[in-house]
């Protein structure tokens, strides 16, 4: 069952423009010029209950604008939105009891106060009964391992600690959908992984639907089953992450280690790195048979170790962006 339905959504911003320099400033006061910027153009999508969806795109693609319209922050210029059977603008208050939102760059915790104070206040705002609130705070602090941070003012927390508190805070009212806008931005590898594990747990244990935007290919690969890629406010691709990798990932990386130095002469293989014994090769699996290539490589010498891997999703996505940007019909851009 779809719990988010978006039909032909558009959002236009009016932006004041000014010619450069002092003269331009004077002119802008007398005769201001505006230009229209279409942040989102005719966007339609659906999200199913319990799904983990990645909503990805480069900076300025319209990701945050879309999330802001889905959560009732921005009024759409055109189109229809239905989230959990509600209109985000007309039923903003009703909807806010059912959704949770975390903006990596915006805090909902009070900067000078310990998270516990913010949690209690948020509990009151979301009209959670006191006993229940206490129980939920205990559960969430355990799950997010933030129990010993609860009485430290937010300003003294590290970014990773703060984000964990932010996500926990957005779950106090047990939302059915959670919108995460760049939740791992600026975090180190270990903390990123922790956040990802938490998001996975959320989806599995509480069946929370997750709508995630991220720049980080790792987030998408590890968390999401489906990805929607947008650029210039339009959907470029709407596919399962598996298909995305399959269709746009003909390139395979082969790391192979021999007992003695070998020389590779096959022109189908691109040697990325060679240290004599250890060689890193790139193969285009759409052009040549992997079976044959591996057999050939095995014949070259005694193999100690071999791994075949996909290139990181980041590269694939940037390939798709380029391909769509030039409007090409080949997949060359993706490669």
């Amino acid at each position: 069952m779809s719990i988010i339905t978006v039909n032909h959504l558009s959002k236009t911003f009016r932006v004041k423009t000014k010619e450069q320099g002092f003269r331009g400033s004077i002119k802008a006061i007398v005769t201001p010029n505006y230009k229209e910027v279409q942040a989102v153009k005719d966007l339609s999508l659906r999200v199913e209950e319990g799904e983990v969806l990645a909503f990805i795109g480069p900076n300025g693609a319209g990701k945050s604008t879309t999330i802001k319209m889905l959560t009732g922050i921005l009024h759409p210029t055109m189109g229809e939105i239905n989230v959990l059977g509600l209109d985000p603008i007309m039923d903003r208050k009703k909807l806010s009891f059912k959704i949770g939102t975390v903006f990596g760059q915006k805090s909902q915790l009070w900067f000078h106060l310990p998270p516990l104070d913010s949690f209690n206040l948020l509990g009151r705002i979301y009209e959670i009964e006191e006993g229940l609130l206490k129980k939920r705070i205990t559960n969430l602090t355990e799950l997010f391992e933030i129990a010993d941070l609860m009485d430290t003012p937010v300003r003294k927390l590290s970014l990773g600690q703060r984000i964990r508190c932010e996500i926990a805070a957005s779950l106090l009212h047990q939302p059915e959908i959670i919108f995460l806008d760049e939740p791992t931005i600026g975090l180190d590898v270990v903390v990123k992984q922790k956040i990802r594990d938490l998001i996975k747990t959320l989806n599995k244990e509480f069946k929370t639907t997750i709508f995630l935007t991220s720049h980080d290919a790792g987030d998408i690969e590890q968390l999401c089953k489906r990805a929607i890629i947008i650029n210039h406010g339009q959907i470029v691709l709407n596919e399962s992450v598996k298909n995305l990798k399959y269709n746009y990932m003909n390139q395979k990386i082969i790391d192979i280690k021999y007992t003695e130095p070998v020389v590779i002469e096959n022109p189908e293989l691109k040697v990325l790195k060679s240290k004599g014994y250890a060689i890193k090769i790139e193969v285009d699996s759409s052009k040549c048979d992997l079976d044959r290539i591996i057999a050939e490589l095995m014949k070259l010498g005694k193999v100690v170790d071999i791994t075949i891997s996909d290139p990181p999703l980041e590269e694939i996505i940037s390939g798709i962006y380029q391909e769509k940007a030039i409007g090409g019909d080949s997949l060359e851009g993706a490669k």
């Binding site: 208050k93 915790l109 009151r124």
Partner: protein
């Protein structure tokens, strides 16, 4: 029911803000007493003036002190309860309304009540002390004073919300808002008799400073139902007008991507 919910929200933030102001006890006390002292200097100014002149615009020393007391307490109540009023414009520009729009509460009340101005406590106490000093103590008098301080606060608040909400329509209006505030303060602390013609028209309509202290002072001295109804009518009309002005503006809200924290 809705009104009760709004009042509950205001009360909740009031307690929350008060307890967080108390965390910094020294700062709370110095700011409060600092403001009382600051305001007190004006008493001497008027006292010296009235040593030489009998009345100004029909007001004697006592009347001037009374309008001072009412506007000071009104101003204090506005900023103790709705401290974020002075930041609305900036919050709109910075895209700080997002987190309020995500919560199941009335946006305007949620925004303005979620912050406080500590020094405004000084204005409240100053007005109260001044009133008790110049007016003979009576429960009715005190009741009226408190009541009119609240109506005054509503006039202050609605005008400042209006000025700040202009940001939705025309870009940053912080400057206009502070101009409006200065205007409202200035015109509510001088004797009514000195205003004539258009000025008088303006302070009863477009910039309703008269309803903060001048009309209440008249009512405390000489109560009349006609003036009382006019006052209540003006307060309600301004509240409704600014509330809808803000709500309409909200449609034009553009958010933003500035990295912000709740202070």
């Amino acid at each position: 029911m809705e009104v009760k919910k709004h009042l509950n929200l205001i009360a909740m933030y009031f307690k929350f803000n008060l307890s967080s102001s108390m965390e910094y006890r020294a700062s709370f006390l110095t700011q409060t007493f600092g403001m009382i002292l600051n305001n007190s200097t004006f008493i001497f100014f008027w006292w010296i003036l009235f040593e030489n002149i009998e009345t100004i615009g029909g007001y004697g020393f006592r009347e001037v002190m009374m309008i001072w007391a009412i506007s000071s307490t009104s101003f204090g109540i506005t900023f103790v309860l709705f401290g974020n009023i002075r930041r609305i414009s900036q919050m709109i520009v910075n895209g700080e309304l997002d987190s309020y729009l995500l919560q199941p509460k009335d946006v305007l009340i949620n925004i303005i009540a979620s912050g406080t101005v500590i020094s405004a406590w000084g204005d409240i106490f100053y007005g109260l002390i001044l009133f008790m000093g110049v007016y003979r103590f009576s429960l009715i008098g005190l009741g009226m004073f408190i009541f009119f301080s609240f109506t005054g606060a509503m006039v202050f608040a609605s005008l400042l919300i209006f000025a700040n909400s202009l940001t939705f329509y025309m870009g940053n209006s912080q400057g206009i808002a502070s101009l409006f505030m200065e205007f409202m303060i200035t015109f509510s602390i001088y004797p009514e008799g000195i205003y004539r013609g258009y000025t008088k028209l303006i302070i009863y309509t477009f910039l309703p400073a008269a309803f903060i202290s001048l009309v209440p002072a008249r009512l405390i001295n000489n109560f009349s139902w006609g003036w009382f109804s006019l006052l209540i009518g003006a307060v309600v009309a301004w509240l409704i007008f600014t509330y809808y002005f803000f709500r309409r503006g909200l449609r034009k809200y553009e958010s933003g991507n500035l990295i912000v924290s709740k202070l």
